[in-house]
Symmetry: C2
Subunit: 341 residues, 2 copies
């Protein structure tokens, strides 16, 4: 059986099964946003997570600047640490780089890393670098810490489901970038404006918001209250990441479609493009918002209650109470290219 | 300036300069075999290191089995931890995999990882996986611990220089594998024997020793005595790694060519191939032996004294006391492909 036919879950499953070893210092191995290690001290845990960013799989050089790529490489890893209730402390960078890159681009990449670590925490402490046979490969390992790790597995029947910020912006931004086919940063904005370049009647700032959600995502830095029972970051789409949380907790879910937070601008631009904003919010990847459960009734600034944890099943209800089909191809599988070949 | 013209040291230098941040928990950042973190407890330090293995840069699929690749990916990282005086505890694997790989090959790769971790220590606790645009990319992060980190920077004038095992075997093995152009494992040995396939009059076991030094290197598991003042693993060739140790310590070196340990079989096969075994030992990569300094007179089973630390300079003396030219292109630069394009 070829990998192209089996998908990411089978490979993770193989590793989970092959390496289900016991270790006295290990609180959580494969299967959450980060591994959890007992630290020497009694009150804090070390978190470790790793993420790959690969040219023409996760990004295209023509639509992201080296600075943005450096920034994003930090943000997506910090988001995994935030999803465990942690803060970022240390980062390792392993880089495979094509010889035709400019040294200056590496400096800009490092500037992007520094801009992000100064905002989201962390110090680069090591890594590896070598020539690439094809394309840029960025492998980041992030080490964080927390006094109380929050796992995917803690959701209880009756808990509310909450999500921070808004969903679908980043996947709309990716779609807009594909249509533009060029880099977008303060020095690369088209003179005539993005809306006119795209032939859309919409606000410039709404376009920029969606595009920057994709290019330079911001991990959620708000501290979560101790009532939070389970958490995951929304990196591969709400439906897929919520399913992972429910699987880990052994529970079901009932989502209310009308409560899913979608930015007004993203709603409008989606409509102009003939896209369904709810579909973007449910299945679009790379929002890097936090999805969490807590006893019903919690209010937290910046978070929206979007449903509740039930005994079993996966359900989405429309505003009129009628069920919507649960998306069968839910979210982003890492063995499907986001950029079609 | 293109990266192809600047080399690995400039990129590491850029990162070292860009990320020379202070952190209370950090004992050593970029610039040694592993980063060193203070642990919660008073007596142990965490070590973190990362290594890339990239298809057609570090290995070719036609000459290494998935099992051997898994084994080697552990070994090279454990070697970095051993070079800090540490033991291996945890590993993270980030894998970019072409869709045409067989799922079975991933299982064999995982078997190779398990075989190596059961011998050299460590548990796989996480990582990332996705589709590759081109070729296999393996990014490993290894976390270890030690009660007393040994840095590259501790060498003192008058110390002896020691190396474990023998040098040059792995680069001879790579040369033999290139000539064979096929995988070598117990199930893939040519029926007529390796020597006859290669047209060499030599012992089969000497060929296999060199080839396996390259395919399945073994990190040095012997505990080092507390007298060891500085240490590095020989991954990029004796000359280059010794220069790194001397640079970090701010000292010079005087090597005695006749003392450099070279296996008798490797000497013989090199001669048959018209290769200089001393050149292989000085400049060949991937031996994964430990190179260390200690007060003169130390004896340690399995280690050879090959020279001494002096005030300044780089010198190699022949048996007759005459100087040999210090190799100018010393060792393996990661921006030069080991497999010529």
């Amino acid at each position: 059986m070829k990998l192209s036919g089996v998908g990411e879950a089978s490979i993770i499953g193989l590793f989970q099964h092959a390496f289900a070893a016991e270790d006295a210092g290990l609180r959580m191995g494969i299967g959450d946003d980060a591994a959890v290690l007992a630290n020497g001290g009694p009150e804090r845990f070390r978190l470790v997570t790793a993420d790959l960013l690969i040219e023409d799989i996760h990004f295209e050089r023509r639509t992201i600047t080296p600075f943005q790529l450096g920034f994003k490489s930090v943000a997506v890893n910090v988001s995994d640490l935030r999803a465990m209730g942690g803060v970022s402390r240390f980062l390792l960078y392993s880089l495979a780089l094509p010889g035709d890159l400019d040294f200056q681009e590496i400096e800009q990449f490092a500037d992007g890393i520094r801009a992000a670590t100064s905002r989201f925490g962390g110090v680069v402490i090591g890594g590896d670098t070598c020539r690439s046979a094809a394309g840029i490969v960025i492998s980041v390992t992030a080490i964080g810490e927390t006094a109380r790790p929050v796992y995917r597995s803690g959701a209880r029947v009756g808990d509310g489901i909450y999500v921070s910020g808004t969903l679908g912006d980043a996947s709309l931004g990716l779609e807009l970038l594909r249509r533009l086919g060029s880099r977008i940063d303060p020095e690369h904005l088209p003179r005539e404006g993005l809306a006119s370049r795209l032939g859309l009647m919409c606000r410039e700032e709404d376009l920029l918001h969606a595009i920057y959600c994709h290019l330079m995502p911001e991990p959620v830095m708000t501290d979560m209250p101790p009532e939070v029972s389970a958490m995951i970051d929304v990196s591969d789409g709400l439906v897929l990441d919520l399913s992972r949380l429910c699987d880990a907790s052994g529970v079901g879910v009932c989502l209310e479609a009308s409560r899913i937070p979608i930015a007004e601008g993203t709603r409008r631009i989606s409509a102009l493009l003939g896209l369904d904003p709810l579909e973007l919010a449910l299945q679009g990847g790379e929002d890097y918002q936090l999805l969490f459960t807590a006893p019903d009734g919690l209010t937290l600034a910046g978070a929206t209650r979007i449903g509740k944890i039930v005994q079993e099943g996966r359900e989405i209800l429309k505003a009129d109470g009628q069920p919507l089909a649960w998306p069968t191809r839910g979210g982003y599988d890492h063995f499907e290219p986001i950029i079609p070949a």
